[in-house]
Symmetry: C2
DNA sequence: CTGAAAGCGCTTACAG
DNA sequence: CTGAAAGCGCTTACAG
């Protein structure tokens, strides 16, 4: 049925080895005429090498996994941010001749099986909690190179890439402080779970410290990163935090929910309350008012992740330390000076 | 290095065959005590079967491809709709013990290689044009089962699943007509390229016919499905189509751009112009006014696609005809009666 | 209920 | 520049 190396070799009157060398571009080892002849037959017969066979025989599969947590009920990758990353990663891998296996992880125990089963050369871990990453050991990865995106875990074997969360949050707070805001609500998930949020909180505080101001630690709301949770915070903002004049949300989707809640409660953004988000999803420019936010370059993050991972695979060396991607303030219409 | 079937067999004092039967759940062929002992050793040693070896030896790889067009420059899957589908498909496959290979296709010729290289059991084709699908032949798929999502291609070998585009568009037009609109702009991509759009256009016209009305065929704008194109249409709507009182856009993202353009041109939605979209992305509820749209059940579409594909693989039979997923009108705030 | 042999389609040393 | 042999880790008939 399938056209094999043997078929091509027989037809060309050479050994399988020679065909293999031609197919894999080891030009130095075959004469030009032979290369030409083999190439022609490969094209004529529509020969496609078997990746399974190659993976089994060689030490390399050229297959990279993208592992994403997935509760059994709802789908994985629900966040627009993760989605954008996945697309970029596939593209970067393809450019380098690797393939992408996309895998939802319903339970941490599945990681080992996901990594070993297809003899992955490496994997990108996207959206895992730092504590889950902490638990990953040499035993669980079994020699597979692994790299985490957006992790602050100290675990050496998952060292990867992340945005400059500290600087981004500081930029956001500085922007609000420069506009004259002093009572700024911090809205985001629990710090203990998510290193990214912890860093953003520290950056937020640092802006106050730099400005010689103090931040009132009542001004905090711990929520999930969803539009619904944002809506709720926005609705009760005026009563729960009557003196707050601005909100920093750790994600755009949350900020957008908060804006809607504020509007529904009868106040206006930004006249009564300024709101700033984080990520710079396309969405930010579609809502009213358009959301001021901190932009992170997702394409750059994905490209860096792939470069680090492939580099690590091909050189056999662990990256020494995590790479940080720069961030920028994108000023739109959801922030302004506080009412005097 | 790796723990193999041989290692387990040696340690259990049985043949590889027996271990294979235990691992694959062929209980009928092994005694309960042996099963128990082998199971224990498998767990102790952390044995994970090699999918490449299995794929090579068996006729099945239990690997399904998700092929998505990807221009080399920008990333693939840029549409939120495709993204949602991808996540759901992975989940459905995982539930059935299959794995997902995600692959961007920069050029149609790559399809064959993408299908053959990993000996895929099947593939879902997402986002291809009907004319591209038309060109797919037995030669290009080489025996791999293939299923297209959202296709109206007549090609038997890509028969798949799609939303009820005709009924959805008809529902949208009926809604506007019932509100009193007569001059309704149709905004969407060129029909010739996209069967989905063609169906939506036919459904749109059918609502007029059913109501005994005629539609003025000047009321059409051919655009790409992007926010930017929508914005442009919205901005010039009042001058280009001064008598139009409503717009039907073939996608939410387009409708949202149109709403913004209308607002920027000084008119209001829905008071001056009603706007209705198609898809019911989460996004619809985040914009102002919230977008009335036609909802398609993406989870259902993905689940159906997987069920059809796996069914076809396991029974060896091509599906007879395409499956259509129902749609619903979701009424929000972007449509109302026309000004009298 | 259990096993020995052949083979899936490649690559990796090793020779020439 | 080219090739014959061994082996990657499984499954598939075929025997017993």
């Amino acid at each position: 049925m399938r056209v094999t190396l043997r078929d091509i070799a027989d037809e060309a009157g050479v050994s399988m080895m020679t065909v293999s060398n031609v197919v894999n571009g080891n030009k130095a080892r075959v004469s030009p005429e032979t290369i030409e002849r083999v190439r022609r037959i490969v094209a004529e017969r529509g020969y496609v090498p078997s990746a399974s066979a190659r993976s089994l025989a060689a030490k390399s599969s050229r297959l990279i996994g993208l592992l994403v947590p997935a509760a059994d009920e709802d789908s994985m990758m629900i966040s627009p941010h993760n989605v954008a990353i996945a697309g970029q990663i596939e593209r970067e891998l393809r450019k380098r001749g690797y393939h992408l296996l996309l895998r939802g992880i319903a339970h941490p125990d599945e990681v080992t099986e996901a990594l070993q089963s297809w003899s992955l050369d490496g994997a990108v871990l996207l959206g895992f909690l730092d504590e889950e990453l902490d638990r990953i050991s040499k035993a669980t990865i079994g020699g597979v190179r692994v790299l985490a995106v957006d992790s602050y875990s100290k675990n050496r074997i998952t060292t990867g890439v992340r945005a400059d969360d500290f600087a981004g949050a500081k930029l956001a707070a500085e922007h609000l402080i420069a506009l004259g805001h002093r009572r700024i609500l911090f809205a985001g998930p629990s710090f203990s779970d998510v290193g990214v949020v912890h860093q953003r909180f520290e950056g937020f505080l640092d802006a106050f410290a730099d400005a010689g101001l103090t931040w009132d630690d009542d001004l905090i709301e711990t929520v999930n990163t969803t539009h619904a949770d944002g809506l709720e915070v926005g609705l009760r903002l005026l009563t729960a935090h009557p003196r707050a004049t601005a909100v920093f949300a750790t994600a755009d989707i949350l900020a957008i929910g908060i804006m809607e809640g504020i509007a529904d409660s009868g106040a206006s953004v930004p006249e009564d309350v300024s709101v700033i988000g984080f990520d710079n999803l396309d969405l930010c420019a579609y809502v009213t008012p358009k959301l001021t936010t901190i932009a992170q370059d997702i394409g750059e993050k994905a490209a860096t992740a792939v470069r680090m991972l492939i580099g690590s695979i091909e050189t056999g060396k662990q990256p020494r330390k995590a790479v940080t991607i720069g961030v920028d303030l994108v000023e739109r219409a959801s922030t302004t000076r506080p009412r005097t």
